[in-house]
């Protein structure tokens, strides 16, 4: 077995920490007076954060020239899926007590639920095909399929935005955090476009050259 790298350890510890913290807060009665809502909100934020980290791996590895980042992408994405699953299970099981009738009534009328559910359904095949077996079997299509994450992340940010009281079109209310997450998702999407990425890679090369000259 290969010795795990520092980044690898950080990824796994960092991804489990929020869940451990929620469990700790549950047993120490620190999940507010409304623990179910607290679990929903915290796992939701964790899922989105991990998806954005996963999404950032590829552009950052080219821009920073840090190859190992691309090898941590999959774990980060799967952890994101783990939190999204806990988030959805909490909503269906704890919040609504598996009462399908009231869930369906709300699913049909609430945009934030519809958007969140679509994002989860898009994420599901990515998690299921994250194994090496599927990677080989799908070949080129695997990469195509997994580009869906570029749609999923902005959708999750939209789901967040739609679930708060404020109104983006009027720039009023508690919109700061969803807008922040959404901007990062869109920025990472923009980084996919090669001119921008190439420009940043060029900047890094020049910086490295400069540093090399003065060393």
């Amino acid at each position: 077995m290969k010795k795990p790298t520092l980044l690898q350890v950080a990824v796994h510890l960092g991804a489990w920490y929020p869940l451990a913290h929620i469990v700790y807060d549950y047993f120490t009665h620190n999940l507010t007076a409304n623990p179910i809502q607290a679990i929903e909100q915290r796992t939701g934020i964790n899922a989105l954060t991990l998806l954005l980290f996963s999404l950032a791996c590829t552009p950052l590895s080219s821009i920073l020239g840090w190859q190992e980042l691309t090898r941590r992408r999959k774990a980060l994405g799967n952890y994101g899926f783990m939190y999204a699953s806990i988030h959805l299970l909490t909503f269906v099981g704890l919040d609504y007590g598996f009462n399908l009738a009231s869930i369906l009534r709300d699913v049909g009328t609430k945009w934030y639920i519809i958007v969140g559910l679509v994002a989860f359904l898009l994420l599901l095949p990515l998690a299921l095909t994250s194994f090496k077996y599927w990677m080989k079997r799908l070949g080129k299509n695997w990469k195509r399929l997994h580009r869906l994450v570029y749609i999923i992340s902005p959708l999750v940010a939209l789901h967040f935005l739609l679930s708060v009281k404020g109104d983006l079109t009027r720039l009023q209310g508690n919109i700061v955090r969803p807008v922040l997450y959404g901007s990062i998702a869109l920025m990472l999407l923009a980084l996919r476009f090669s001119p921008l990425k190439l420009a940043l890679m060029g900047t890094r090369a020049r910086l490295q050259g400069l540093i090399g000259r003065y060393r």
């Binding site: 507010t32 007076a33 409304n34 809502q37 739609l162 209310g173 508690n174």
Partner: protein
């Protein structure tokens, strides 16, 4: 008139001798808090936060066994004082109590003015003396689909309004929250049209259920629950029950309200609890009572239909949401 009176209000709060006199108790309270924080300095931050939450007077423990008229028990003092939607402090419901610990609720002055024959300015203690608050156990239903049962002490708003003699031109009542960005950091957030404002139609305001609360759980009204004084209109969503009220103005036109200004498509002027009128974000058909695991069905007018449904006879509540 209103301009003149508001400038008076600011000046009077700056009169030092009165503050020195009244803040003696705050000083003692603060000293206790400091001693407590020092003792807890070595503990986790969360423990320290819990310790500095204000308990204005020892809570009456017998109250925790009381029930509302539907037979549901009141929520714990701890839940009521640590889970608060009070954006003047922060958007985080758990973060309000620690911030509110530094908020001064004495002295507290309330102006009643506008279309009235006898505009008045009261100190909170005089209001309490004159209008004799009574116990009222009310359900509070938040638009976010959670609810609590809260034992308030307060007096009917109608009593105060009768005292100032509204003129025949007065059709609505406008309420305004205190502006103190130094003590209320959320008021520095430019994404909100501060100050918080709310309004009631005259007949709603005169309904006996509408009270001005000056206490809770047998003690003073904690700052995080809207102290010095707040409105409580239990048949409407929680945001209508404006906290930290310092101005009550009688007006002829329907006043602008905080949430209907931010998002008019979602928050209307009436905002009656109504399981049949859906809200784009939260299901209004059911709710979670804080402390319970199962959701429960939301009641029309939050269970107060008998007392208030007649106010809306002939109105389409889907249009007037």
């Amino acid at each position: 008139m209103s301009e003149k009176m508001s400038s008076v209000a600011i000046r009077s709060s700056e009169i030092t001798p009165k503050q020195v006199y009244l803040s003696r108790r705050d000083f003692i309270k603060a000293a206790g808090v400091v001693a407590g924080s020092v003792a807890l300095a070595a503990c986790a931050p969360q423990a320290a936060q819990t310790a500095v939450q204000p308990l204005p007077t020892p809570q009456d423990t017998s109250i925790s066994t009381k029930k509302d008229e539907l037979g549901d028990p009141v929520n714990s003092f701890d839940d009521i004082t640590n889970y608060n939607n009070y954006y003047e402090f922060t958007e985080d419901k758990g973060g309000v109590a620690p911030l509110a610990a530094k908020f001064k609720t004495t002295p507290w002055d309330v102006e009643v003015y506008g279309l009235v024959n006898k505009p008045m300015k009261y100190a909170l203690e005089d209001l309490v003396k004159q209008f004799q608050p009574e116990d009222r156990i009310y359900r509070l239903r938040c638009v976010e689909a959670w609810s609590m049962v809260i034992p308030w002490t307060g007096f009917p708003l109608a009593k105060l309004l009768k005292e100032v003699e509204p003129t025949s031109a007065a059709k609505y009542v406008r309420f305004e929250t205190v502006t103190r960005p130094d003590e209320m950091p959320g008021q520095r957030n430019v994404l909100y049209p501060w100050p918080y404002q709310e309004g009631l139609r005259m007949d709603e305001a005169m309904n006996d259920l509408a009270i001005l609360a000056t206490g809770m759980y047998g003690g003073e009204l904690p700052a995080q629950n809207g102290g010095g004084m707040r409105l409580v209109v239990p048949w409407k969503y929680g945001f209508k029950s404006i906290k930290g009220v310092i101005k009550i103005e009688l007006v002829s036109e329907q006043p602008a309200t905080m949430w209907s200004t931010i998002n008019p498509g979602e928050y209307g002027f009436y905002s009656n609890v109504n399981p049949q009128v859906d809200h784009p974000r939260w299901s209004q058909a059911s709710e979670r009572r804080i402390g319970e695991l199962q959701r429960r069905d939301t009641l029309m007018f939050n269970g107060y239909a008998g007392q208030v449904a007649h106010l809306y006879d002939g109105m389409d509540l889907k249009v007037n949401y």
